[in-house]
C-alpha cells in the first residue's frame, strides 16, 4: 500500500488521459452505428454517473444537512424528515401505497407554492422593458435637471416598432380559445409563426458555436493532450483519419448488404 500511493499519484494524469481517450473513442463509435463498444461505454457511463450521484447526495446533502444534525448535534426531529422521506417507499407496498402520495403531494405543493415567486422574478421585469417608446424624441430632463429618459433616434424608434409588432404577432399565435377565423387575427398569427421561424433560425445558428466549441475541446484533448503521449499531434491525427476511413468503409459495405 505504501508503494501504491506515490505510484498512483505519479501516474494519475497519464492514466486518466488514457482512460479518457478510450471513453471518448468508445462513445464516438455511435457515429458509425450502435455497437457493442458503445453499449459497454454507455453502461459504464450509467454506472459511473449513478455512483457519482449517490455519492454526491450523501456527501453534499444527506450527511451535512441530515446525518450530522441528527447524530452529532442531537437534533432528534431530523428523524421525522427521514420518516417523511421513507413514506415515498411505501409505493412498493400495494396496500399502503397511497400514503406515498401524501409525501409526493406535499413536495408538489411546495414546488407550486414557489412558482409564484418564480413567475414574478422570471417574467415581471420583462413587462416594463417591453414598454417601448415608438416615436423619436429628444432627451428629457425633469425640473431638477436630472435625466429622465435618453433621446430616441429614428432607427431606434423603428427597431422598437419592429419589436412591438413581433411581440404582438407572436403572442396572438398563442391564443387557443379563439378560432382563428377572424382575418386580422389569422394574418397576425401567421406572421407570428414566421417571426418564430426567424427566431429559431437565430437560435440554431447561435447554438452552432456552443456545440462546435465543445467538440473543439474534445478533439483538442484527443489530438493535443493524448497525442503528446503517443508521439505527437501528427500521429494522433493520422490515427483519427484512419479510424474515420475505416468507419466510412465499413458503413458503405454494410449499406450495400
Amino acid at each position: 500500500m505504501t508503494e501504491f500511493s506515490p505510484w498512483l499519484a505519479e501516474h494519475l494524469k497519464v492514466m486518466s488521459i488514457w482512460l479518457g481517450t478510450f471513453c471518448t473513442l468508445g462513445l464516438f463509435s455511435i457515429l458509425y452505428r450502435e455497437n457493442k463498444l458503445y453499449r459497454f461505454f454507455e453502461h459504464l457511463f450509467l454506472g459511473i454517473s449513478m455512483g457519482y450521484l449517490m455519492g454526491n447526495v450523501w456527501t453534499d446533502t444527506l450527511r451535512p444537512k441530515w446525518w450530522i444534525p441528527l447524530w452529532d448535534k442531537g437534533e432528534w426531529w431530523q428523524a421525522g424528515v427521514l420518516i417523511f422521506g421513507l413514506f415515498y417507499y411505501l409505493i412498493f407496498f400495494k396496500k399502503v401505497s397511497w400514503i406515498a402520495r401524501l409525501s409526493i403531494g406535499f413536495i408538489l405543493g411546495a414546488s407550486s407554492g414557489l412558482a409564484f415567486q418564480g413567475f414574478v422574478n422570471d417574467y415581471w421585469p420583462q413587462i416594463p422593458t417591453s414598454f417601448k417608446p415608438l416615436w423619436p424624441h429628444q432627451a428629457i430632463y425633469d425640473k431638477t435637471g436630472l435625466l429622465v429618459s435618453k433621446a430616441l433616434s429614428v432607427p431606434d424608434a423603428i427597431n422598437n416598432l419592429i419589436f412591438m409588432t413581433i411581440l404582438v404577432c407572436v403572442m396572438s399565435y398563442f391564443f387557443f380559445s379563439i378560432e382563428q377565423n377572424n382575418r386580422v387575427l389569422k394574418r397576425s398569427a401567421q406572421a407570428g409563426r414566421w417571426m418564430m421561424m426567424f427566431t429559431f433560425g437565430a437560435i440554431f445558428g447561435s447554438t452552432m458555436m456552443a456545440r462546435i466549441a465543445l467538440l473543439i475541446d474534445r478533439l483538442d484533448f484527443l489530438v493535443n493532450d493524448f497525442g503528446s503521449h503517443i508521439g505527437g499531434q501528427g500521429v494522433m491525427f493520422t490515427l483519427l483519419l484512419f479510424l474515420c476511413g475505416a468507419v466510412i468503409f465499413l458503413a458503405q459495405r454494410t449499406d450495400k448488404e
Partner: protein
Amino acid sequence: MEHASPLVRIMVPLFSTCIVVMIQTARWKQIKIRRIHGLTAIEEAIGRATEMGRPMVCTTGLGTARAGIEIVTLQALSIITYIVRSSAKFATKAVLPVFDPQMLPVTQEAVREAYNLEGRPDLYNTEDIRFLTNNQFSYAAAVAGLIWREKAGATFMFGNYYAESLIIAESGNQVGAIQIAGTPATMQIPFFIATCDYVIIGDEFYAASAYLSKEPTALGSLVGQDIAKGLLLIIVILGSAAITFSQMAGSSLGKTILDLFS
C-alpha cells in the same frame, strides 16, 4: 424580488383568479379550442409504429426541479399517458425512460392506470418504465442506445429538454422513427424542428393536454391563460403607448410608470 411588490400583489392574484374562475366555468360550460397541428399526428405515429411492429419510446424530458417534482414534467406525463392509452388498443409496446427518481413511482402509476382504463392491464411491464440516471448526458447516452437497440418506430418527446434534445431526436431520426416533440424550452425547438416530423411550440405544450383530454379543468385553464395573456398584452401595449406619448410631450410620466412596475 424577495417579496411581492404592491403591483405584483394585485396582478398575480388577478391572473390567478382569471385562471381559477375559468376552470370553474368550464365545469358547466362547453369550451372549444383551436386545432393544434402536431397533436393530430399522434395517432398517425402510433399507427406507423404498430405497422412496423416496433415499439414507441416516450420521454418526459429532464426534470431538474428546483424543489420537488417539476411541473412541466407532470404536464408532459399527462400527454404521454394519453399516448400510452391510445397505443393500448393496438398493443404497441411503449418504453418510458425516466430521468428523475421522484418521477419514477408517479410514471409507473400513471402508465399502469392508463392500461387499466383501456382494459389491457396485461400490457403493463415494469421493465418498460425504467429509471436511467439523473445525469443529463448519461441519460442521453442511454436513451440513444435504447432507441437504436429497440429500433423505435415512433418517439414522443415532451417536457423540458436541454442540449440532449438533439442526441435523442437525431438517434430517432437515424433509425427512421416518426417523431413528435413538444417543449416549453424555446432554445431546443429549432433542433426538434430539424429532426422531428411534428413539433409543438412554446405554450402549445400547455394547451396540448387540454386538446387531447378535452378535460374541463384543462380547457378552462387554457381559456383563463388566454385571458391572462390578453391582459398582459394589453398592459404592454398601453404601457408602450403611454411611454410614447409622455415622451413625445416631454413629460416624466413615463418614468413614473416604469417605476411602478419595478
